[in-house]
């Protein structure tokens, strides 16, 4: 090879080199990548659409705590398991006295409620500063977000009693504030709600079917502010706000207690503010899953079935009055029932026509089989559940009642709760629970019936009430009664009782109200039976200071229908009525002081 050739090749190589460098030079934006599935903080809130999406993001905080792997113990209805009306299947850390300040219950509740605060703070500030939406819409959205922020602080204050307050977007290293007093947090709540109420662009109420339905209304703000006043024992202010709720057009649903909780009536005038659910994965409820039983919908394992993670407590069942307003008494159905040892009572719940093998099994268990009526046992026990407050059978699946469950042979079947439950196939159709070696009162309320109501346990369609008018009426009654306005208060209670089809107060000797104290107790009981499973009862007991007395008395525990204890309740100390500041939060922010006892 000669020199020329060499130079030629060298030239060629250099051309390639130059071309190569050219290729790499031309892609200037190589390094400027951007996410494909999200919006950066630089552009968020800067269009009308992004404003809508951002506000919906605040609402979505209401759904935190919903999980598809098991009950989180943080959804509202699940919190009843801490109180009077309901029982967590295996007990929970607050009833078995095993909770401590590191328990996930406290940290997760804190975190999720403050997430709501953070999103609301972000929205309130940025809608005002950056959104190009119309002034009316912006004003309405800010009012809605203030309501939501108030709701989250309300929930925090209910259990932690005085928490740090952040009302502006805060950087992660800025969470160093001390706790405010409980009273100060109520003030914050009332201020936000008052702002919402004073906002002209916030409607009083949305009509059924309005496209905005599910957004906050002024009625909701009045209801929540009234409740906040109740916590502060500002009875007159509370009553005035509850009256405004009525003025806004909210009223009791008249189609019956049971129908109220069905999809058709989820936008009835009784519903003031509810968590919106639709039957789409990620958008629905889980009540049918964690309250439902094995016969709840589904035609096989893949469709899933209910886990009955929560039971109704026998104390609640016993609290439902007879239809005539007299107190229910077991001894009137089965003489001597209330004085016999609880484990012996099981004999009364046995199904008719037990096999000899079953007879001997139960005899071996120590039951007095002489009390068993082979052909009349079911009829006898059913008497205990008939002629009662209609809300009993709308709330509870009681022994020997039926439940319209999943389809077999192509048709939904009526399953009967029998003891023992032997066979859930046609034609026997015993109702199976997920704990069928023991017999518990199971939820009927919030449990979907038949296969037409639900397509999947992960996502039920029915909105979950956060505030409804019956709750408002009973709080109103409470506010009136505490002011000594007994007569007015009785009227509010009677509105609720009338809808339930139960004798009115002051209509008979048994229902005669004897003064403020008597009415106070009657209002409390009315709330316990009316609002069972709605995530209200536990907080009521905390507010009234009645938790220990009502929930941790003798014989308390996770009780089978006859009272047998499967998991005993243990009172850890009075301090458990105020939740601890989560341990890690105390560690990361030394300015926070722990509640006493923890």
């Amino acid at each position: 090879m000669n020199m020329n050739q060499h130079i030629y090749t060298t030239k060629k190589a250099f051309m390639i080199l130059i071309a190569a460098i050219g290729i790499c030079g031309c892609k200037k934006d190589l390094l400027n990548t951007a996410p494909y599935d999200s919006v950066s903080s630089a552009t968020m809130w800067t269009s009308d659409n992004l404003t809508d999406l951002g506000v919906t993001g605040v609402y979505q905080t209401l759904r935190l705590g919903i999980a598809n792997s098991g009950a989180t113990e943080r959804e509202l209805y699940q919190l009843d398991g801490l109180g009077f009306s309901s029982m967590t299947r295996g007990g929970n850390d607050l009833v078995t006295a095993t909770a401590n300040s590191s328990s996930g219950r406290f940290s997760n509740t804190w975190k999720e409620l403050y997430e709501g605060v953070a999103r609301a703070n972000d929205a309130i500030q940025n809608i005002a500063d950056r959104s190009p939406s119309s002034p009316e819409k912006k004003a309405r959205y800010i009012a809605e977000c203030k309501f939501l922020r108030a709701y989250f602080y309300f929930r925090l204050n209910q259990v932690f009693k005085g928490v740090p307050v952040y009302l502006k977007p805060t950087a992660v290293n800025g969470f160093t504030k001390e706790r405010e007093t409980e009273a100060k947090v109520w003030e914050v709540v009332v201020t936000d709600l008052t702002d919402a109420i004073n906002e002209a662009n916030l409607p009083l109420k949305y009509a059924k079917g309005a496209s905005q339905y599910g957004h906050v209304t002024k009625g909701a703000a009045y209801a929540l502010r009234g409740k906040a006043y109740l916590y502060q024992k500002k009875w007159a202010e509370a009553a005035a706000d509850f009256a405004k709720v009525k003025d806004a057009g909210y009223s009791l649903f008249t189609g019956g207690y049971k129908a109220l909780f069905k999809e058709a009536n989820e936008q009835s005038d009784e519903m003031i503010f509810s968590m919106q659910n639709i039957a789409v994965d990620g958008y629905g409820s889980t009540t049918q899953w964690y309250l439902g039983n094995r016969e709840s919908f589904g035609s096989g394992t893949a469709a899933g079935a209910g886990w009955n993670s929560y039971y109704i407590s026998p104390s609640l069942v016993d609290l439902y009055e007879n239809a005539d307003g007299t107190k229910f008494n077991w001894d009137n159905v089965i003489p001597g029932y209330s004085t016999m040892p609880v484990n012996q009572r099981e004999v009364y719940f046995l199904r008719n026509n037990l096999t000899p093998a079953e007879m001997s099994t139960f005899a071996a268990k120590g039951l007095n089989m002489a009390l068993y009526l082979p052909n009349g046992n079911e009829q006898r026990i059913k008497m205990a559940y008939t002629n009662r407050d209609s809300r009993l059978n709308a709330t509870v699946i009681v022994p020997y009642s039926t439940y319209l469950g999943r389809p077999l042979n192509g048709a939904d079947q009526n399953y009967t709760m029998r003891w023992p439950a032997n066979n859930d196939q046609i034609p026997v159709l015993d109702l199976f629970s997920d704990s069928r070696t023991q017999l518990f009162y199971l939820y009927r309320k919030f449990v979907y019936e038949g296969s037409s109501e639900i397509i999947n346990r992960q996502y039920g369609a029915i909105d979950f009430p956060i505030i409804r008018y019956a709750d408002v009426l009973l709080m109103w009654a409470e506010a009136l009664n505490e002011q000594g306005l007994t007569g007015e208060a009785v009227n509010k209670v009677n509105e609720v009782r009338a809808r339930a089809g139960i004798a009115s107060l002051n209509s008979s000797a048994a229902t005669q109200v004897n003064g403020q104290t008597d009415l106070r107790e009657r209002i409390r009981n009315e709330r316990r039976v009316e609002l069972a499973g709605e995530g209200i009862s536990y907080f009521d007991e905390l507010r009234w200071g009645t938790l220990k007395e009502k929930v941790f008395g003798p014989g308390s525990g996770v009780n089978q229908v006859w009272g047998a204890i499967t998991v005993p309740y243990v009172w850890k100390g009075d301090y458990i009525t105020v939740w601890p500041i989560p341990q890690t939060e105390i560690e990361m922010n030394p300015n926070l002081k722990q509640n006493p006892g923890w």
Binding site: I16, T33, S40, T98, K111, Y283, A364, V570, P582, E587
Partner: protein, 1087 residues
């Protein structure tokens, strides 16, 4: 750029002479194919011997000297003046002085290395029944810790750590295959020529920001000039799990234990006496026919799930064919491989096909073009092994797995209806899981001028995965009554789903090299540019309502509500780099490296990183004063290096954190008025100050070859400091549920020593070698969020208050929730409660309770122990975390904890202490032994780690919690505390047991909580591989037309020595697919 300019000023000399030399190269066994012959001084004039060891070369320069090289042999220089035909016998290399080592963007003679590089030859990997490269590296190189976390086909790749845990996120080393970033286990082990592990900055800095965790370079085999050779190698192996989890399989006993746990808690018993009796009766006559017509062992089962899941021996077969050869113009190595691994569990098998073509063509003297192209495709069974392992401890022995094709359902009425038959998780899903990789590099090498070459490469890699799944209908039966419990699902309830995901990378790489020698000065220099783009996206969908089980395409499903999903992310990098080497008489060695990187993962103002490194070597053995020693010391070199490298990976998962510097709002779900309505919310908080993590590495090394090459020694001391570590430290709960921002928070140091020592010799006709390596790594977090201060202060009221800032200055990670990151401690050091230790005296002399007089080992064993607890509480002391005495709270057989801070509460958060240990081994070591005698060869490889601990308290296996439908570990069943307080003389009482009492219910916050009670030493030593082979002599092999034939027997993972009570310390803490013990036979034949 100054270097480049200098390169062109250097003169070249071109002259020619044309003398043809022919010859034959042999070793002691016969002709040596593939040996390299180079004309000295004319490095581009080279050839290789053909299959018969013959070569031809035309001399072009005037040195009259040929250099003959072959890896593993001593290089010889032959003076051919006056000769045209030569015959040379090469001696195997006992010195290793001419060993060439692959380094980043080039090769270097090992003696000239100034960096710390471990080199592993492909031969050390071949002929082992391994299914992937990564797991085969165990024990082969010092400072390279290899942990195989699973034996699942397709997921059996190992985790590799070079010089300890350097960062809090991904510690995976960079893998570079033939110069291009890639995936280690995508390479067929049989295609590998060599693996180099770059450990220090001097070696790694050329990869700059990517090399913070070390670099592994893989070079695949190239074609050799000469006659074609075809090599077949095949291995057939039998695989069994090396260990199995051990659960109680006697169901009656299981039920009694469960009832015991319920009694312990004061809650109702779970299983009725009638049910237990049924099993006890049936157990008396297991083969008897039950009322339902099936044998008792089916109707009333006592299932050992581990045996059913893993009980099968499976055959793994591995076949590879390669075609190697070429002419002076074109060389090629083309290979095809098949791996069939049926897996020890149903429906987990893998089959993999791999093809590679490495072809290089010398277009002319100046241009060489070539390609490395690789295609593989693998299919894996659809068994849901994640579920199977997740449910393995969430099932009971009371379910018969499968009988006459029918799957079993728990016959006991007490079992939840959701009882888990593990086999249904393995066999319940059909569909496809197929992954295909296409990886092609096209390269051109241009010899621009004497010593000056330009190399350009374009690489495109495409990996895509096709997934589909649909439920295979399974019925479940209660065999005790012969009733169908779970009928087949109707087609309308079945769902079919699919996913397609794909990622591709485009790399463009250009390097200009110059090499020259001026007198005694060897100079080389290199500059380069690289750009890289990676993109991933997927598309998922599912649809319900199959018209028939067998009709499973989404298009044929009936439900109109579809779920379609998909995501996408990308990242890119741009880099400039350069290196200069200088050597004087191969005695004094100097090297400098610079690299400048820009990454898309950081905000534009923070995205550039600069990485320099410098190293030097001194070959003491070349000094005059050592000449007298040359009989004893063949090589003695001192190396030192310092440099900076980086890391831009923000998570343990390399694919996460691509946009972490931006705060982003992502989609969340809500509805209004029954219409779905998306929202946006911040789910990850951004941090636009993010920048590179920087690792500064200093290394001093000594290499020695002594006793006539019989002994090789390498010692490295290193100090590796990583600053600005990218982590995601926890944020206050008050900040909400959004993921915490990624931050540059911590600094960490890893100091260590690595020693490799080898001995090679001959006793009579037996050649043998022993090679050991050992590494010690000392890890400390040097900077995090501040110094821990804890202790007592006096408040305004004069009360002594204990305070600690542990939450401020320290945090845990998701991976090790009970380990913490804190300055002055090893990373993720366990931070745990300690069980109380008392002296058992209970009372002081004055009758008051003695706080040091409680139970000796922290377990409440006797009434006196419990009384002491009560007296303590009465005296104002507290016990945590539960605190109340009672069956369901704190009782007999529970642990109590030491009051480490002396605040009077035994077992609150302030009583946690650092243990000084973590899950990361402090010492790793390997030992390989090899011997050869005539045709026989033998080798053995041991690998192990010590100085690591695992907190092992998993429900169902090593926890005394019991729960409905959960298993009970045999270890727990055999040695747990029991005390019937109603009957102190109950023969079942076992108050001296090693483990605490059984506790019913999933939550026990007293005993089964993180404490040193559940902390175990997880050190292990494993016999990784044993191999015996026989190579037939050339003559014998020749008779059947082969040039080489070797047969071998080998065993993998044959022995594990450990005290860890779990499955396998190498697999990790909890249950998962075990590693495999394999026995294999194979052969390698070359035609």
């Amino acid at each position: 750029m100054i270097i480049c300019t200098a390169i062109f000023l250097l003169p070249g000399i071109v002259s020619a002479q044309n003398k043809l030399i022919t010859g034959k190269i042999k070793d002691k066994d016969g002709p040596l194919p593939g040996a390299g012959i180079t004309e000295k001084g004319m490095e581009t004039n080279a050839t290789l011997t053909d299959a018969s060891g013959n070569f031809k070369i035309k001399l072009k320069g005037n040195s009259q000297i040929l250099v003959v090289r072959n890896i593993g042999y001593q290089t010889q220089e032959i003076d051919v003046s006056g000769k045209t035909e030569i015959s040379i016998t090469l001696n195997t290399d006992s010195k290793g002085l001419d060993e060439v080592v692959v380094v980043g963007y080039g090769t270097q003679k090992k003696v000239n290395l100034t960096g710390s590089v471990a080199s592993i030859s492909g031969k050390e990997l071949s002929a082992r029944p391994i299914t992937n490269v990564s797991s085969a590296l165990a024990g082969l190189a010092p400072g390279v810790s290899v942990r195989q976390g699973s034996g699942k086909p397709g997921s059996d790749g190992a985790t590799i750590r070079i010089r300890g845990t350097g960062t809090l996120n991904s510690n995976n080393p960079l893998v570079v295959i033939d110069g291009i970033i890639g995936t280690m286990d995508a390479v067929n082990p049989e295609d590998i020529e060599n693996i180099s592990v770059l450990k220090d900055a001097a070696a790694g800095a050329i990869y700059g920001s990517l090399s913070g965790n070390g670099v592994i370079l893989i070079t695949t085999k190239k074609g050799a000039v000469g006659k074609n050779s075809v090599t077949y190698s095949g291995v057939l192996s039998f695989a069994r799990p090396s260990n199995l989890p051990d659960f109680v399989s006697d169901y009656a006993r299981f039920m009694q234990l469960t009832n015991e746990s319920a009694r312990n808690m004061g809650v109702s018993e779970v299983y009725s006496a009638a049910t237990i009796q049924k099993w006890q009766e049936a157990d008396k006559n297991p083969d008897g026919i039950s009322a339902s017509g099936v044998p008792n062992y089916v109707a009333y089962p006592n299932t050992n799930w581990a045996d059913w899941m893993f009980g099968k021996n499976q055959v793994v077969q591995n076949h590879n064919v390669s075609l190697n050869g070429g002419t002076e113009k074109i060389t090629y190595n083309i290979s095809a491989g098949y791996l069939g691994n049926k897996g020890i569990m149903d429906n987990t098998g893998l089959s993999k096909y791999q093809f590679r073509a490495n072809i290089e063509s010398k277009i002319n003297k100046f241009i060489t073009l070539g390609t490395q192209t690789f295609i593989s495709t693998q299919s894996i069974g659809k068994a849901n092994t994640d579920n199977a392992f997740n449910y393995l401890w969430q099932t009971t022995p009371g379910i018969y797995p499968i009988y006459e094709g029918k799957y079993g359902f728990a016959p006991a009425v007490e079992e939840p209806v959701t009882n888990n038959n593990i086999l249904t998780y393995l066999n319940g899903t059909g569909g496809r899981n197929k992954e295909t990789r296409i990886n092609s590099t096209l390269y051109g090498i241009f010899n621009i001028y004497k010593g000056l070459t330009f190399e350009t490469k374009v690489n495109y890699q495409d990996r895509y995965q096709e997934l589909s799944s649909f439920a295979l209908p399974i019925e479940r039966w209660d065999f005790s009554t012969n009733t169908l419990k779970t009928p087949l699902l109707a087609g309308s309830d079945l769902t079919t789903s699919f996913e397609f995901n794909k990622n591709y990378t485009l790399t463009f790489d250009n390097v200009l090299r110059y090499i020259t020698k001026i007198g005694d000065h060897d100079i080389s220099a290199m500059v380069g540019y690289n750009q890289f783009y990676y993109d991933y996206y997927n598309l998922t969908g599912s649809k319900k309502g199959l018209i028939d089980y067998n009709i499973t395409t989404p298009g044929s499903a009936t439900d109109i509500s579809n779920a379609v999903g998909g995501t996408e992310y990308d990242r890119s990098m741009r880099s400039w780099f350069g290196r200069a080497n200088y050597a004087y008489k191969s005695k004094y060695l100097l090297e400098g490296v610079l690299r400048y990187d820009a990454s898309s993962k950081f905000a534009p103002e923070n995205r550039y990183g600069f990485y320099p490194s410098f190293s030097a070597g001194w070959r003491i053995s070349e000094e005059d004063f050592m000449k007298g020693m040359s009989d004893h010391i063949q090589n003695l070199k001192l190396r030192a290096s310092w440099g900076k490298v980086g890391n831009n990976v923000m998570s343990a998962d390399d694919n996460k954190g691509n946009y972490d510097y931006m705060a982003t709002y992502q989609k969340v779900n809500y509805s209004y008025n029954n219409a779905s309505n998306s929202g946006l919310a911040v789910l990850k908080i951004g941090n636009n100050l993010l920048q590179w993590e920087t690792t500064t590495l200093a290394n001093i090394g000594l290499d020695a070859t002594i006793f006539k090459g019989k002994m090789n020694l390498g010692i490295d001391l290193y100090n590796k400091i990583t600053d600005d570590i990218l982590t995601i430290p926890p944020i206050p709960l008050t900040a909400g549920t959004a993921s915490a921002p990624t931050q540059n928070t911590a600094s960490m140091s890893n100091k260590g020593v690595e020693i490799a020592l080898g001995w090679k010799d001959k006793i009579g006709q037996v050649e043998y070698s022993v090679t050991g390596n050992f590494a010690y790594n000392y890890n400390r977090v040097t900077k995090y969020k501040g110094v821990l201060s804890e202790g007592y202060t006096t408040d305004a009221n004069g009360n002594s208050i204990y305070s600690s800032n542990i939450g401020l200055v320290s945090s845990s990670t998701d991976a090790i929730p009970d380990g913490r990151i804190l300055e002055g401690h090893t990373v993720s050091e366990y931070y745990l409660l300690n069980p109380y230790k008392g002296n058992g005296s209970y009372k002081n002399a004055d009758g008051s309770v003695n706080k040091n007089g409680g139970p000796k080992d922290g377990m409440i064993r006797t009434p006196a122990d419990l009384d002491w607890v009560k007296s303590m509480i009465a005296a104002g002391y507290k016990f945590g975390p539960v605190g109340t005495v009672g069956k369901g709270q704190l009782y007999y057989g529970d642990l109590i904890y030491a009051d480490e801070n002396g605040d009077g509460t035994y077992g609150n958060n302030a009583d946690k202490k650092f243990t000084g240990t973590s899950t990361t081994p402090k010492y790793t070591f390997g030992l390989s032994l090899a011997a050869a005698w005539k045709g026989f060869d033998f080798s053995m490889l041991w690998a192990g780690s010590t100085g690591l601990q695992y907190l092992f308290n998993q429900s169902g296996i090593n926890s005394t919690r019991t729960n409905l439908g959960n298993a009970i570990g045999t270890r727990i069943a055999n040695d747990h505390y029991y005390y019937n307080d109603a009957n102190p003389n109950d023969p079942a009482n076992n108050i001296n047991a090693g483990l605490p009492r059984l506790k019913w219910g999933s939550s026990d916050s007293q005993t089964n909580i993180p404490s040193t009670f559940w902390l175990y030493n997880a050190s292990y030593l494993k016999l990784k591989n044993v191999q015996i082979g026989y190579s037939f002599s050339k003559q014998l092999a020749g008779k059947i037309g082969l040039s080489r034939l070797r047969v071998f027997l080998t065993g993998e993972n044959l022995l594990m020595i450990t005290k860890y009570p779990g499955l396998d310390p190498e697999v990790g803490i909890n249950l998962s697919y075990p590693t495999m013990k394999q026995f294999a036979a194979g052969l390698t034949a070359t035609f």
